[in-house]
Symmetry: C2
C-alpha cells in the first residue's frame, strides 16, 4: 500500500523510479532500519532494498521488501545503474554528493522531489503507529514524573536530565527524542534551553521539555514548575499559558486548519497581553521524526484529519525574568483530539 503510492507517483510524474535513502523513510517503507543505511529502489514494477553486506542478514529478517547486498560503492552504483533511472524521484534531504554520484555513475539526468507524496502518507498515522506513539508518550510521562521528584534547590539541570534519560531507557526507550531541555531561572526564557550545568535556585521557573524515542517513534511534552512559592507574575504567565494550552486541546478537531488551531491558542495569550512573548508556533507534527507535518502555525493551512499527531505547546518568554511552556502530544480523533501525554498540567 505504501509502496503502491510511490508507484502511482512514478506513473503520474513519468519517472523511471524512486530512490529512498533517508533513515525514517527506509523504516517506513521497508520495516527495516540498518545502522549503516540502505537504498530502496522502487520502479513501476518492482521494489528492492539494497544494503551493505554487513547489514544483509538483519535486513532480510525485518524487511517487507526483497533485499540485496553490496560490498563496495562501485558494486552499488553498478546495480543502481542497471535500473536505468534517468528520471528519478528522490527525497529533498538527499545529499548533493549522492545526487552528483547518481549523475556520474548511474546515468540519472533529472531529479524530482518526492517529499509531497511521503508527507501525504506519513502525516496520517495508522492505528498501529498511534499505539507506538502512545507507548512513547507513556515513557515521557514516566520521565516527567522523575523530573518532578528530582528537581530541587541546588541540583544542576544536567543531573535532572541524566536521571530522566536513565528512566526513559530503563522503560524501554531507545534514547531521548531530542536533547532534554531543563531551563531554570533566567534560562527558562530561552525556548531551547538544553540542560546545562546551572544550579536550580529557589524561586526559579523551570521548563522541562522532553520526549522518548521508542520503536522509531517520538513523543514530546513540556511542563513548567516553580521551585518554592510562585510570585504573582509567575502565576500570571503560568495560568495564561495553561488556559491557552487547554483551549487548544479542547478546540482541536478534524476539519479545521492547523493555522486556525494556532490562532485559537495564540488569541488566548494575546488576550492576556503577552502576544509578543509567544515567539514560536503552537506546535508541530510528531512521528518518525520529532518535527514533522503539519506545522501548527500561521503558515500551514493543512486541514486536520483523524490520525494526525501534533503537539500543542504555547509559551510565554520574558527575557531575563523567565518563561513558561506547557505541551502535550495529542492525536486528532473522529470528533476532537485526545492527549497522549498525560502528566497533570496544574503544577503551580
Amino acid at each position: 500500500m505504501r509502496i503502491e503510492k510511490l508507484k502511482e507517483f512514478i506513473t503520474e510524474k513519468e519517472l523511471d523510479g524512486v530512490l529512498i535513502t533517508g533513515r525514517e523513510n527506509l523504516f517506513y517503507f521497508t520495516g527495516s532500519s540498518p545502522v549503516l543505511g540502505g537504498y530502496l529502489v522502487v520502479t513501476p514494477d518492482d521494489a528492492i532494498f539494497i544494503v551493505p553486506e554487513l547489514e544483509y542478514e538483519e535486513a532480510r529478517e525485518s524487511s517487507k521488501v526483497p533485499v540485496e547486498k553490496f560490498k563496495t560503492g562501485k558494486e552499488l552504483y553498478e546495480r543502481l545503474s542497471s535500473f536505468k533511472l534517468r528520471r528519478l524521484g528522490i527525497e529533498g534531504r538527499t545529499s548533493f554528493s549522492t545526487v552528483q554520484t547518481l549523475r556520474e555513475k548511474a546515468g540519472t539526468e533529472d531529479f524530482v522531489s518526492i517529499d509531497d507524496v511521503i508527507r501525504d502518507l506519513r502525516i496520517v498515522k495508522t492505528r498501529e503507529e498511534i499505539e507506538v506513539i502512545e507507548a512513547a508518550c507513556r515513557i515521557a510521562d514516566q520521565a516527567m514524573m522523575a523530573a518532578l521528584e528530582e528537581i530541587s534547590e541546588g541540583r544542576r539541570e544536567r543531573e535532572i536530565a541524566a536521571k530522566m534519560e536513565y528512566v526513559m531507557k530503563m522503560n524501554g526507550a531507545e534514547k531521548p527524542a531530542f536533547d532534554t531541555i531543563i531551563a531554570s531561572g533566567w534560562r527558562s526564557a530561552l525556548p531551547h534551553g538544553i540542560a546545562s550545568d546551572k544550579r536550580i535556585e529557589k524561586g526559579d521557573l523551570v521548563v522541562i521539555d522532553e520526549g522518548a524515542l521508542y520503536r522509531h517513534y517520538h513523543s514530546d511534552t513540556t511542563r513548567t514548575i516553580v521551585v518554592g512559592t510562585p510570585n504573582e507574575k509567575q502565576r500570571d504567565i503560568y495560568y495564561a499559558v495553561l488556559e491557552a494550552q487547554r483551549k487548544g486541546v479542547e478546540a482541536a478537531r478534524p476539519g479545521m486548519t492547523a493555522k486556525e488551531l494556532d490562532t485559537i491558542v495564540r488569541d488566548v495569550i494575546k488576550e492576556y497581553g503577552y502576544g509578543d512573548n509567544f515567539i514560536h508556533s503552537t506546535g508541530h507534527g510528531v512521528g518518525l521524526e520529532i518535527h514533522e507535518w503539519p506545522r501548527v502555525s500561521q503558515f500551514d493551512e493543512t486541514v486536520l484529519k483523524p490520525g494526525m499527531v501534533i503537539t500543542i505547546e504555547p509559551g510565554i518568554y520574558l527575557p531575563k525574568f523567565g518563561g513558561v511552556r506547557i505541551e502535550d502530544t495529542v492525536v486528532i480523533t473522529e470528533n476532537g483530539a485526545r492527549r497522549l501525554t498525560r502528566t497533570e498540567r496544574e503544577l503551580i
Copy 2:
C-alpha cells in the same frame, strides 16, 4: 585561519563564495552551534553567519564571525541572493532541496563540493581540540568502568547501557557519541549490536562499544569481557584481537599510511587464522563527527600526521558463537601514537 583556507579555495576554484550549513562545520568555522541551524556565507572578502531570529542573541555571544538574523525563508534567500553567488562552494551533505532553493531563489547556477578543503583542515586536530577529545575519552573510560561493574548474569543489556549513559551525562557529557553497544552471547558476533532487552547469561562474551559527546567532540572505545570463566575458544579469539590491537597502537606513527596501519593490524588476525572473521576496517577518524577521516582501511592511503585522531579496533566475529572487539581512540604524535582511552585491555 580556518576561514582564510575557505577564501583561498574560493580564489583557486574561481567561486563567488561558499555556503556552509552542516552543524559540525558551522561550529568549526564560527564557534557557534545554533539548535535551529544557520547559514555561513564566505565570499572573497567577507564572512557572515545568518541565523534564525530565535538564535540571534546566543549566536552573537558565541560566534567568531559577524552574525545577522532572518525571520522567514523569504528574508533569508533575499539576503543570500544579495551576495550574487552564481558559482558556489557547498558541502557534499547539503540537501537536494537546499540546492534547488538556491537555484530558484538565490540565482546560483554552479555548485562545487568543498568537502576536500574541509577534510584537509579538520583531519589534523589542534592542541585545543585534542584536549577536548581527551576529556571526552576520560568520560568514556568512566562509563566503561560503570559497565564493568554492572554487567552480571541476568541483567538486561539495555539496563547496562542506561547506567553507562547516566554516568556519562553526570560527568559532563552532552550525550552518548552514538547508540551504546552492549552485545552479549550470540549478539556479540554482530558488529553493531546496540543494547537490546536480551538478558546477559553466564559464559557470554559481552562487547561494550561506547563513547561520549563532550563540547561537540566524540570519543570511542570498546572492551570485551566474558561473564564467568572463558572457554578456550573465547580466550583464543580474545588474545588474537588483543595482540592485533596492541600492535596497531605500537605501530601507528606519522609518515605511514592509514592502509599500512590497517595491514599491520589485519595481518595479526590473519596469522591466527581469523582473517575472514575480521569483517570491518581497523578504524576511523574521530572528532566533531564520530566517523570522519582518515578511514583506517585498505581503501585509504592518507599519510598519518601528528594531530590526527583515529580509532584502532580490530575484531573477530564468529556467527552464532560470539565476537570480540577491543578499541581505543588514539592521537598520532610526533613519533608514534598515544592512547586517549585508557581502560585496562587485559580483561579476561
